[in-house]
């Protein structure tokens, strides 16, 4: 009986010696220790032995089972480290399984950047409707009916008294009607003008701003807009304020920055003037205070309007505004 077990032991070790792969070791292991394995069968047959031999045989067989199990495991581990050392591994240069992010629209990106700058300066964000009454879009903003100032904004009409807003300024009036000073808001949103060429699309985006409080001066307007330009472009960007006209501000100013393409030497982008017009601004016209019931003696303020497409074109070097609304994936994927 014992001989038999010794035989099994020796034979197993011999076979293990000859094994050349983990696979073979596993096969040997199954042959001896598996459900139908040699040792398993031996244990099952113990009942056929004489009763006095059974305990010893069972003990010895179980011991052998442990020993072999250990031996197989060690051999297997040894092979594993050897295999790893000899194996080539994978071609890590093959592309990974694709995970691609989509792109935000460049207008959204610039819009967020503009809003972020003004939020940081303490302005709240307000939004308004896009189909507006003539009153809020024009009259309350001091554009009388039948006044040439209305020609400054080519308007889409829904009816005689309803328009697609030509600027986000109507929300200035709506906000002031609801809120007493101080008012510090910016108004991002879509606006519409019937105009279409290389630099105009019938829909575009604006961020307007309004600040009304006691003792607000034109110097403050210059301060806030200078900070904006420096954050949006860079600290070195020079800017100039020049007189202009908007019905809802007085004094009014256009803000030009030194051309970021040619640094003022003159190029195609700046029409060889060295300057780029980037926003309109001015001190709030007293007529607006009257329309919303503010005390024009006590409060002063300023307003400004930024064209988001204009800034995006400059920042990204885009030369045709219509690109923004063609939604060509080859364009959008770049942002």
């Amino acid at each position: 009986m014992e001989n038999n077990l010794d035989q099994i032991h020796q034979q197993a070790l011999n076979e293990l010696e000859g094994a050349e792969s983990i696979r073979e070791i596993e096969d040997i292991s199954i042959r001896y220790l598996g459900r139908k394995g040699v040792l398993t069968r031996f244990l099952r047959n113990i009942s056929h032995l004489p009763a006095d031999q059974r305990p010893m045989a069972g003990k010895k067989a179980n011991e052998l089972k442990k020993i072999l199990d250990q031996a197989f495991r060690q051999a297997s581990e040894k092979h594993q480290t050897q295999d790893a050392a000899g194996e080539q591994g994978i071609d890590v240069s093959l592309p990974g399984r694709c995970v691609t992010c989509g792109a935000m629209h460049p207008i959204s990106l610039i819009n967020e950047q503009i809003c972020g700058i003004f939020s940081g300066l303490g302005f709240d964000i307000a939004e308004g409707r896009e189909v507006e009454s003539d009153y809020y879009n024009f009259e309350a903003l001091n554009f009388p009916k039948d006044h040439p100032a209305r020609d400054m904004q080519d308007t889409f009409f829904i009816s005689d008294d309803t328009v697609l807003r030509t600027h986000t300024s109507p929300q200035q009036i709506r906000t002031m009607e609801k809120q007493a000073p101080p008012v510090r808001i910016i108004l991002p949103g879509k606006v519409y003008r019937c105009d279409s060429d290389l630099t105009h699309t019938p829909m575009f985006h604006q961020v307007e701003g309004l600040l009304v409080d006691e003792n607000i001066s034109f110097g403050d307007l210059k301060g806030i807009l200078t900070t904006f330009v420096h954050q949006m472009f860079d600290e070195q960007t020079s800017l100039r304020f020049r007189p202009s006209f908007f019905p809802f501000t007085e004094p009014s100013a256009e803000v030009d920055i030194l051309c970021i393409m040619c640094r003022g030497r003159g190029c195609r982008v700046c029409s060889h003037t060295g300057w780029l017009e980037i926003l309109g601004s001015g001190m709030v016209h007293p007529a607006l205070y009257e329309n919303v019931g503010y005390d024009a003696e006590r409060y002063t303020g300023f307003a400004f309007g930024i064209g988001v497409e204009r800034i995006a074109m400059l920042k990204y070097g885009i030369d045709d505004i219509r690109r923004f609304f063609e939604n060509d994936m080859r364009f959008l994927a770049q942002f």
Partner: protein
């Protein structure tokens, strides 16, 4: 508005070079858009020496000339009678653009090649002699540029003026600003005209029947004029600002218009019935031929200048054919009026005519400038057209104009502008542009300036108008930069803005790119979308004046925009598209002028599930891809009670029946998901499947939990048990999962579907559904015995409820 440097110099000495001048005007609020060399067109016109003149083989009146230039000789065919060998004349090379707009090219004239052109002074815009080619001084050097040889230098400035500054729609107006900038004097021409008697009163009369439209009407009469070409200096002035000379009478009115900004009109006095002028509004429906030979239909709001019987001009807009100056005209009545800006603007808009005159009248001319202008024009007419001035002036002025008197506080000016200014400084600035400071009154710490605005400054009425002038003249760039007191932080953004930002982030994270399409779409877009006639989205708001047919109505859905974007990209070989848009739709409301403007998120996926790669074959995306995105998005927003319910076939419109669902959160519908209906795809000329989902933000936002509250992580392990049952194919998987949940067993934590199978060995018309139940207790570690009984019970209930079987 164009103005030439040489003309400006008639009124002011200019100390700056053209570039400096342009910059100074721009910084004073008169934006110079372009600065051009007036004689730029003479670049390719040289002084040519005519070496030889031969007769033309095929034409008696033409000559063939050999003209010497530095690089050789050119052959030129010329028909001028004065051409002769040895003379110097202007030679325009091929490519020259002449003042009349024609472009010179090499040509063959009656069989003879002609390489350039010998020019007359008329052709070059340099004179009035049409008789032959221009004879140049012997002393000039052949081959030199003509402009250099003749010393022709001038600069033309093109100004983009804001509508508040009609006073600068004139050469004198701009000269006045330059004088103020330079602090140098302005020279006015002589506008005076002394009348010894009032003979005109016996010959003509003016009656104003519509003083609201025409507050002032002045006129003078010039007798025995000869209508002919203007002298060269006058033509030259007009040419320098881009106006074409016509005849001396018309040229004089145009000259005075450009010089003073006052539009004038010259009538042939003998064609005015009863020799009188009546200013009245038109009769509705009245017809009238304007100077441009078009018949106009008038309405009762339009102001007409009439004679004793009929209209002769549309007041302030355009004259009539019936009183036009003709070659034989002998007596000229010159009109100089002040018309109401609103009246002129309405008429000009209604007739669709904008002229130099209407442009100025609608912005407001100087009501006191009428007399100066008519004097200037009458005197020039007498001088240049050989006429005799009829003594006397007609000046009907039923509504006298009051100059604006404004009082402005010095302190308030300082405060608004943020610059230190004393009363004397402000006074000097205002006086430099002809404002009169009548008084400076001390008022406590403050001073008030009482100011009378010049009558040409029709834009001045309130103190801020004066402050703007002060700021402009002091120089915006001299105002120091300051900062307002600001709060430490802004208020948090609105919920809508916050959610929109989050949607953008999530969708781009899921691999979708944002698009922005126009808010206006094609009139037929909701029809193309297959919306039912009763659908509120069928009533789109039309735009009265759209730019294009495909931008004619406000959108009521974002889907047409996405489908158009898909088509645009497919035709450009981009076949897989994952895009989204967040934007408003516009739904009209009954009895309200302004529509509802809810914001919508719309998402589209077409093409492949993954990009082509070595990892496996490409699989087209399907319903469950887009649904997965919707689930992922709503899950990230922590929206509870999410369900997708089958849409009734008649509600499917643009989505394919059987392949679309409502997205529900609890009882509220927040959107839909599905495949675009093949018929709708055809309407948009699309040849591949597309899957969409849409969410309405107003419905979605209230469902997003404002705050998240933490639930403890389970302390005890779970036990998992699987069930597979076989049900009718029509049974919705969701109903089985919901049935388990509705049993209300507290130990059942989750039900997760993991396999659906149809086909052998499952019987036809049936499907097997497998799902895993997670059992967990909050109080103890469960053992098999705790679960076995319950699991059997749940299985049994399901078998009964769904008439289901177990797999073999």
């Amino acid at each position: 508005m164009k103005v030439s440097l040489s003309w400006l110099e008639d009124y002011v000495d200019i100390k700056m070079d053209p570039a400096q001048l342009a910059d100074a005007l721009t910084m004073a609020g008169l934006e110079v858009e372009a600065v051009a060399d007036r004689y730029g067109y003479l670049q390719s016109v040289l002084v040519g020496r005519i070496e030889a003149v031969d007769s033309h083989p095929n034409a008696d009146k033409l000559k063939v000339c050999r003209v010497h230039i530095p690089n050789g000789q050119l052959t030129v065919v010329c028909g001028a009678p004065n051409v002769k060998a040895g003379m110097l004349a202007p030679l325009a090379l091929a490519g020259t653009v002449l003042p009349d707009g024609s472009v010179l090219e090499k040509s063959v004239i009656r069989g003879q090649a002609s390489e350039a052109m010998l020019c007359s002074d008329v052709e070059l815009g340099l004179g009035t002699d049409p008789g032959g080619i221009m004879e140049l001084e012997e002393s000039l050097t052949p081959g030199d540029r003509l402009a250099d040889a003749l010393g022709l230098y001038d600069t033309v400035f093109e100004l983009d003026l804001t509508p508040n500054r009609p006073d600068c729609l004139s050469v004198i107006g701009i000269a006045r600003e330059i004088a103020a900038i330079q602090k140098t004097p302005l020279r006015y021409p002589d506008f005076s005209l002394e009348d010894k008697d009032n003979r005109i009163g016996k010959l003509a009369s003016v009656t104003i029947e519509a003083p609201d439209h025409c507050p002032r009407y002045a006129a003078r009469l010039v007798d025995a004029v000869k209508v002919k070409s203007s002298p060269f200096w006058l033509q030259d002035r007009l040419l320098s600002v881009g106006l074409r000379p016509i005849n001396n009478i018309v040229d004089i009115t145009n000259f005075v218009l450009m010089e003073t900004g006052q539009p004038l009109h010259a009538f042939d006095f003998d064609r005015l019935a009863e020799n009188r002028i009546v200013v009245r509004t038109a009769r509705s429906g009245e017809k009238f031929f304007t100077l441009d030979q078009k018949e106009r239909t008038l309405d009762a709001d339009m102001l007409m200048i009439c004679d004793g019987q009929k209209p002769v001009a549309v007041g302030g807009v355009m004259g009539g054919l019936n009183s036009e100056i003709e070659t034989g005209t002998s007596r000229v009545l010159i009109e100089s009026a002040y018309f109401s800006p609103v009246s002129i603007r309405k008429t000009s808009k209604k007739l669709g005519v904008s002229t130099e005159a209407s442009h100025r009248f609608e912005r407001g001319v100087d009501p006191e400038g009428t007399i100066r202008a008519v004097n200037r024009a009458a005197r020039l007419t007498a001088e240049l057209a050989g006429g005799t001035l009829v003594e006397g002036l007609i000046d009907e002025y039923p509504k006298p104009f009051k100059p604006a008197q404004v009082s402005v506080s010095v302190q308030r000016t300082r405060q608004l502008l943020g610059i230190e200014l004393d009363p004397g400084h402000i006074k000097n600035l205002l006086e430099s542009i002809e404002f009169e400071v009548d008084n400076i009154i001390a008022d406590g710490d403050d001073h008030r300036l009482e100011v009378t605005a010049p009558t040409f400054r029709v834009d001045i009425s309130i103190p801020e108008d004066l402050m703007e002038e002060v700021a402009r003249l002091a120089g915006y760039n001299n105002i120091p930069i300051t900062f307002p007191a600001m709060p430490a932080e802004a208020r948090p953004p609105s919920r809508q803005l916050e959610v929109r930002r989050r949607l953008r982030q999530l969708m781009t994270g899921f691999g979708f790119s944002e698009v922005i399409t126009y808010s206006f779409v094609h009139r037929l877009s909701s029809e193309r979308l297959g919306l039912a006639a009763t659908d509120p989205r069928r009533s789109q708001i039309p735009i009265v004046n759209p730019l294009a047919e495909d931008q004619a109505v406000m959108r009521t859905s974002l889907i047409p925009g996405l489908l158009e974007t898909m088509r645009y990209n497919l035709t450009r070989q981009v076949k897989t598209l994952k895009i989204f848009e967040v934007g408003k739709i516009f739904i009209p409301r009954a009895n309200q002028a302004l529509p509802q403007e809810p914001e919508v998120l719309a998402v589209l996926w077409t093409g492949m599930r993954y990009e082509a790669s070595w990892h496996g074959a490409q699989i087209p995306c399907d319903f469950f891809d887009i649904k997965g995105v919707a689930e992922g998005l709503l899950g990230a927003l922590k929206i509870g009670g999410l369900r997708f319910t089958r849409m009734d076939d008649d509600a499917c419109d643009y989505t394919r029946a059987g392949y679309c669902a409502w997205i529900m959160a609890g009882d509220s519908t927040v959107g839909r998901v599905g495949e675009i209906h093949p018929r709708i795809r055809d309407n948009f000329e699309l040849k591949q499947s597309a899957y969409i989902f849409e969410l309405e933000l107003p419905h979605l936002i209230p469902l997003i939990p404002a705050a998240v509250s933490f639930k403890p992580i389970p302390k005890f392990p779970a036990i998992y048990r699987d069930i597979t049952i076989i049900v009718d194919r029509a049974v919705e998987a969701q109903s089985i999962l919901e049935a388990v949940k509705n049993m209300g067993e507290t130990l059942v934590e989750t039900v997760h579907l993991f396999a659906v199978f149809e086909g052998d060995p499952v019987a036809a018309g049936k499907k097997s559904i497998s799902f895993r139940l997670t059992y967990r207790s909050g109080a103890k570690t469960l053992v098999d015995d705790d679960v076995n009984q319950l699991h059997k019970l749940i299985t049994a209930k399901l078998l009964q409820a769904f008439n289901a079987g177990l797999p073999e």
